[in-house]
């Protein structure tokens, strides 16, 4: 197990390196001179030159990359061009609201999605299935930002039950996490259903039924565990989807999280912040996929830790 984990961690290094190079190159792909961007519109050529030296932009590309990579390893992403504060501070302040939002969305959507998927598979082609799958296909077809606006209009503006924007109390989390999780719940439901339908056709399920076990036992003990194996993989992929989705949802609900920070940074061309956020988002995604693979190996005994 440990060996498998180590091997997987080592395997990440090339991907991380390429992601790092791409994120580093990002600054150099931006139209215009990053030093001028950093110095501001009205800066004199002398100031631009000083800023260029300060940022190390006068050095060769490999040197710059080493400097960038060294900084990243020390959690130093430079200073935000907009607020002049360290990027790491900016991110630290915004990190928790996004994390909680993502976790809240993940928790409800996976639970509900798997429940709907299981019920649909058990009552295949009957009304619970039709209802569940209609909900699911609607869920993947409804864009998050439109759903968020409609929920806000209904529950906050017209009914006045829930707050509109901000992230102060748990009540603030309800609408954004519903919005963010809807598509994931839908995907999980569809995926769980098809996985379960496959499993329920297996020989060992027939055997379990033949020896007189109750249908509940068959579904829960023999079906669920086996059906979960592909579902766990899907869950990991969905986490990445949530990270991306949170960007849009945060704009709708004016959420003080990383997504809003990214949008503001892109608007203001605050490239150190963009760089750090893109790196952070992809790092999270990569780590989550690794965790999922490990979890997959844990629940699926047929996989030997090669």
């Amino acid at each position: 197990m440990l060996q498998y984990l180590l091997r997987r961690l080592l395997g990440l290094i090339p991907t991380l390196l390429i992601v790092g190079v791409l994120v580093f190159m990002f600054v150099h792909l931006l139209p215009g001179d990053p030093a001028r961007l950093a110095a501001g519109q009205d800066a004199t050529p002398e100031t631009v030159k000083l800023v260029r030296e300060d940022l190390g932009l006068d050095k060769s590309l490999p040197e710059q990359f080493l400097r960038f990579a060294g900084g990243v390893l020390h959690w130093d992403f430079g200073k935000s061009l907009r607020t002049k504060r360290p990027v790491s501070t900016e991110i630290a302040e915004r990190f928790m609201p996004t994390l909680w939002l993502t976790i809240a969305a993940m928790a409800w959507s996976v639970t509900i999605g798997m429940l709907i998927g299981t019920l649909s598979a058990v009552w295949r082609n009957r009304w619970p299935d039709r209802l569940g799958m209609t909900l699911a296909v609607s869920g993947i077809s409804f864009p998050a930002f439109a759903l968020g606006m409609m929920l806000m209009q209904l529950f906050s503006v017209q009914l006045g039950w829930l707050p509109t924007v901000g992230a102060d109390t748990w009540r603030h989390y309800i609408l954004p996490s519903l919005t963010l999780g809807a598509a994931v719940a839908a995907i999980m439901a569809r995926f769980t259903r098809s996985s379960f339908v496959d499993i329920l056709g297996e020989d060992y399920v027939r055997t379990a039924r033949a020896k007189g076990l109750s249908e509940t036992t068959v579904v829960i003990k023999h079906g669920l565990r086996n059906a979960l194996i592909p579902v766990v993989t899907m869950m990991g992929l969905q986490f990445g989807f949530l990270l991306g989705g949170s960007i849009v949802v945060e704009v709708v609900f004016n959420w003080p999280g990383l997504g809003r920070l990214l949008i503001d940074a892109v608007d203001m061309r605050d490239y150190p912040v963009i760089q750090a956020l893109v790196l952070l988002f992809s790092l999270e995604f990569i780590v989550i996929n690794l965790l999922v693979d490990v979890l997959y190996a844990v629940i699926n005994p047929t996989i030997r830790y090669r």
Partner: protein, 295 residues
């Protein structure tokens, strides 16, 4: 089960892949309806400039600002007096074109890469799959935002951004299919009679991957329309006054209190369009996947 059903149809004299597909597809009524809806939508989008009742960007009816839907303005009027129905129709052109073009570009490049990776294996395979891993390492819309940040806003760049993030999905899909097809007897036979690599890949392997690509194409269009609209919604795609659905929703946000119907119609337009493509894709998958008769 499928075998007996098929044998029960004696008139099936010529059973090409196409008739077989059609036989299965037309049994799925929901998908057929979705397909008809998509065709109508495309027709309306193409004809939009000739059938819109008002100019989508430059007609302002100042007497009916924020008017609710009526016979004069089918979907009502927005806060600056523009006819929402006309804007939705013109917006269909943008959203459909963005969805279709971006997936087409992604599918084309992805399929080519997948064929090379699967057929050549070895070094090519490792390189291409590593590239896909890297693209997969960025959550979808983040990659698009990064690309738009580099290239600048506007629909053309949004299409490029969305197509880039469709590439790895198609590459993986086609690679998997190619790997399983290339060892089949008919491919070996083609190779043994001296067919060139080009012929084998294009004439014998590629046709075998088309079914999977078509299914993904349809399902992916829905995702791409949502992504493109999302980018416009957060202000990185089409800019006002362009009647792009996501941009329209963004504009409508400011007036949700006084004119919620302005947001309703673009939302519904995106929802029904994407829903149609998803239902169509589900139907295509069920019709093209030989394993699915048990449903």
């Amino acid at each position: 089960m499928s075998a007996t059903a098929a044998e029960a149809e004696p008139q099936a004299a010529v059973r090409t892949l196409w008739t077989e597909f059609w036989r299965k597809f037309k049994r799925q009524h929901v998908a057929v309806v979705a397909g008809v809806f998509v065709v109508m939508l495309v027709a309306m989008a193409v004809l939009a400039p000739f059938i819109v009742p008002y100019d989508a960007e430059n007609f302002f009816d100042y007497d009916s600002i924020n008017a609710r839907p009526s016979l004069k303005h089918l979907f009502g009027v927005d806060p600056i007096g523009r006819d929402i129905f006309s804007r939705i129709l013109m917006g269909a052109r943008i959203s459909l074109a963005a969805g279709f073009l971006s997936v087409a570009i992604g599918a084309l490049i992805g399929t080519a890469l997948g064929l090379v990776a699967g057929y050549r294996e070895g070094w090519w395979d490792r390189l291409i799959m590593r590239l896909c891993d890297v693209l997969f390492a960025f959550p979808g819309i983040l990659l698009a935002i990064g690309i738009v940040a580099i290239l600048g806003g506007g629909m053309a760049n949004v299409i490029i951004a969305v197509s880039i993030f469709s590439i790895p999905t198609f590459a993986r899909l086609v690679r998997g299919n190619t790997l399983s097809l290339k060892h089949l007897t008919y491919v070996e036979a083609a190779r043994s009679v001296g067919a060139s690599d080009w012929t084998i890949v294009l004439r014998h392997i590629f046709p075998g991957t088309i079914a999977a690509v078509v299914v993904y194409f349809s399902l992916r269009i829905g995702t791409s329309i949502i992504t493109a609209a999302s980018l416009s919604f957060i202000g990185m795609g089409a800019q006002p006054p362009t009647p792009e659905w996501g941009a329209m929703l963004n504009e409508a946000r400011a007036d949700m209190m006084t004119a919620p119907h302005v947001a309703l119609f673009p939302s519904m337009a995106i929802f029904f369009t994407v829903l149609a493509f998803n239902l169509l894709g589900d139907g295509l998958r069920d019709a093209l996947d030989p394993k699915i008769d048990r449903r």
